[in-house]
Symmetry: C2
Subunit: 80 residues, 2 copies
């Protein structure tokens, strides 16, 4: 089963990398871009049959290792 973890900075936390990308896109004439936030995606291949169980375990992994709860939020999608 494949589980996707998406880790983004919490709202309100400054994202200089996103700001830089925003700026670069404007320079390339993508004027419609109004804001950019950058995050990480971690795709996990897990030996698990229950989607709920896979989700719960992935949340545990995020809390223990993969995300920094102080400044980051995460979402979990079970993909297949």
């Amino acid at each position: 089963m494949k589980v996707r973890l998406i880790i983004m900075l919490k709202q309100g936390v400054l994202d200089p990398q996103g700001k830089a990308i925003n700026h670069a896109l404007h320079n390339l004439s993508f004027q419609e871009v109004q804001g950019v936030r950058v995050g990480r995606v971690i795709d996990l291949e897990v030996q698990e049959t229950s989607p709920d169980q896979a989700k719960a375990r992935a949340a545990e992994m995020a809390k223990q290792l993969l995300a920094n709860g102080v400044i980051e939020d995460f979402e979990i999608e079970v993909m297949a």
Copy 2:
């Protein structure tokens, strides 16, 4: 309109960061993890009304700036 770009290494491209995470998860007793791939997510806030148009423009941004076509693939999701 919010557009999410997910950029992952192409299949076959070695992902040492993913390997390191895999190893670390095993050390934390997440034995069910069989593979990890790491990528980037870029959330764009764009001034655009048509989802198709937003998608096409985001693909253009990915090709020109955000993804490295040699080693990376990208997916685009229109979120709202």
